[in-house]
């Protein structure tokens, strides 16, 4: 549905995107993830044919974004970084204007406005003037604008910015529902959002793709040794550290000792060694109050891939 091949974008001498290759299948939700200034917005603007790529090609639904820009724009719903709103208009007249620009016939326009407003929770706000709306509501109007013509492809630049937690959950649900018959590209720097909504993630840093995979696979790649977070009362047993350290490859990290309670992260060479160690410590009179496996999260993936350490090592 969406294809980017070797896309590079220069702003004067600044390279915003470098040789981006990307493809998104129909019905997929792709998350674009990256720190500020990574090139997420630039990539989206190229896909919406708002700006041209310096080199490389991009197609949406089989149409080139530069050559067949009009066809691309017909099939696209786009929520830019700043919701493009006219503060002096009411929500209803604004959506009606968008419907006219999107070539919806008058009858369909009315039903779509009602349907979309209902889905996004704007039904009551239709007669309100946009300038008087809160940030969250403006964001919703921006989203309604992108959905109005039921486009094949939705490009959402940080769709949940400025929404409160309840709204975020609603919008996430909405985005997931939409994925059944839409192809969605969304950018965000809110990591849980990606884990919850996106089938696949592209991590961009300094204009380059550093990882493309499903959230689960990405988490596996940085997982490293199996780890547990443990809160433990050693009791009379003062040798617990030695007991652990006897296990090959065992590590204790982030140890905090307070009034007879120890909190630490335990890393072992293999998960199998844990059972034996647990029994041994318990037999020695230790009491466990918390044992939870520590999984690598998308956050770790993100930090590892974008913090710069990785690249220094490579160099």
């Amino acid at each position: 549905m969406i294809e980017m091949k070797n896309v590079t974008k220069f702003y004067d001498n600044f390279r915003a995107l470098n040789c981006i290759d990307l493809s998104v299948e129909k019905g997929e939700i792709l998350g674009l993830l990256g720190p500020n200034g990574a090139g997420k917005t630039t990539a989206m603007r190229i896909l919406t044919s708002f700006i041209p790529a310096t080199s490389g090609t991009a197609t949406v639904a089989g149409f080139d974004v530069f050559e067949d820009s009009l066809e691309v724009r017909r099939r696209l719903g786009y929520l830019p970084e700043t919701p493009p709103l006219y503060p002096e208009m009411t929500v209803g007249s604004y959506l009606n204007f968008i419907g006219e620009l999107r070539e919806l016939p008058a009858k369909l326009r009315r039903t779509r406005i009602d349907y979309v407003a209902d889905r996004i929770g704007l039904l009551e706000s239709l007669p309100r003037v946009i300038g008087t709306l809160s940030k969250g509501y403006r964001q919703r109007v921006g989203l309604a604008q992108a959905l109005l013509h039921n486009p094949e492809v939705l490009i959402l630049d940080e769709p949940t910015v400025g929404l409160d937690p309840n709204q975020i959950i609603e919008i996430r649900g909405l985005v997931k529902d939409l994925a059944q018959d839409h192809t969605i590209v969304l950018s965000t720097h809110i990591l849980p959002e990606v884990s919850m909504t996106c089938g696949r993630v592209v991590i961009i840093n300094e204009g380059e793709i550093v990882a493309v995979d499903s959230v689960a696979n990405l988490e596996k790649t940085v997982a490293g040794k199996p780890s547990w977070k443990i809160t433990f009362k050693p009791g009379a047993n003062q040798n617990w550290r030695e007991t652990i350290e006897k296990v090959p490859d065992a590590e204790i990290a982030d140890l905090v000792e307070t009034a007879g309670t120890c909190e630490f992260i335990l890393r072992l060479g293999s998960a199998d060694a844990f059972d034996g160690l647990f029994r041994k410590l318990a037999d020695m009179g230790g009491i466990f109050t918390e044992i939870s496996p520590v999984k690598a999260t998308l956050e770790d993936v993100f930090l590892k891939l974008t913090s710069g350490e990785e690249r220094k090592e490579a160099a």
């Binding site: 603007r45 919406t48 044919s49 708002f50 700006i51 041209p52 820009s69 009009l70 724009r73 017909r74 696209l76 786009y78 830019p80 700043t82 493009p84 709103l85 006219y86 503060p87 002096e88 208009m89 007249s93 204007f97 968008i98 006219e100 620009l101 999107r102 070539e103 604008q145």
Partner: protein, 236 residues
């Protein structure tokens, strides 16, 4: 269809902001004053001096109406919406132009009270120059708006857009003065570019097809350039 949607939206914004009202009020106040002063001092039932001055006031007022047309969309980033909708830059420019032009026609229509007053009280009032004068006023308005609209595509700063259109319009006004300075073909070419010399002919009651074509071409050139500038934003 999309052009009319854009036009309707633009007309709405004109009346939501105080700019249109303020321009209307000050224009009508000045024109009303001029009508009175000129009539009382000359005691001639002619609209020519008033219409001549009205065009100059419109030259000063029209950049205030046109400056926001595209600049504001750029500043508030709503241009991103327009350019990523299935609308061509030419349609955007046409919609904006028509909205401003309709507003201008309403403004001009409000001055029709003065020829009405004259025809009511004067026994020998010649309507010919009034018709041709208003044709000229409509044409020169289209020219003002097109140049102002072009200026507005150049920048996201409304003040700069207004200043560029002031500069441009006043330049096309004073071009005519070259005729008195250079007694050669150069002076003649500059003189032909003068929008006010051509407008003055309409006021004398002459609707010269050359002048009509000049204003139409002048308007279309600036509209064409405005659409190109808007389009070129997509190439950069």
């Amino acid at each position: 269809m999309k052009i009319f949607a854009l036009m309707k939206k633009e007309l709405q914004s004109f009346f939501f902001s105080p700019i249109a009202y303020i321009v209307f009020a000050s224009f009508l106040m000045i024109v009303g004053y001029l009508f009175w002063v000129i009539l009382v001092s000359s005691r001639v039932a002619s609209l020519e001096p008033m219409l001549y001055n009205a065009a100059f006031i419109l030259l000063l007022a029209s950049p205030v109406l046109t400056m926001r047309l595209i600049s504001e969309e750029k500043k508030s980033r709503t241009i991103e919406l327009l350019l990523t909708s299935p609308v061509s830059p030419a349609e955007i420019i046409a919609g904006k132009f028509l909205a401003c032009f309709v507003l201008y026609l309403v403004l001009i229509a409000l001055t029709l009270q003065y020829p009405l007053i004259l025809s009511f009280y004067s026994t020998e009032f010649d309507l010919g120059p009034v018709y041709s004068g208003y044709i000229g006023l409509i044409l020169i308005g289209a020219a003002f708006i097109s140049l102002g609209l072009f200026a507005s595509t150049l920048t996201e700063n409304q003040i700069i857009a207004a200043m560029i259109s002031f500069g441009g319009l006043i330049l096309f006004w004073v071009f005519g003065w070259a005729k008195n300075v250079f007694d050669n073909s150069f002076g003649e070419i500059l003189g032909n570019l003068s929008i006010f010399d051509r407008y003055a002919e309409f006021l004398r009651g002459v609707v010269d097809s050359g002048n009509v074509v000049f204003f139409l071409v002048f308007t279309l050139i600036w509209l064409f350039l405005a659409a190109r500038v808007l389009e070129s934003d997509r190439w950069r």
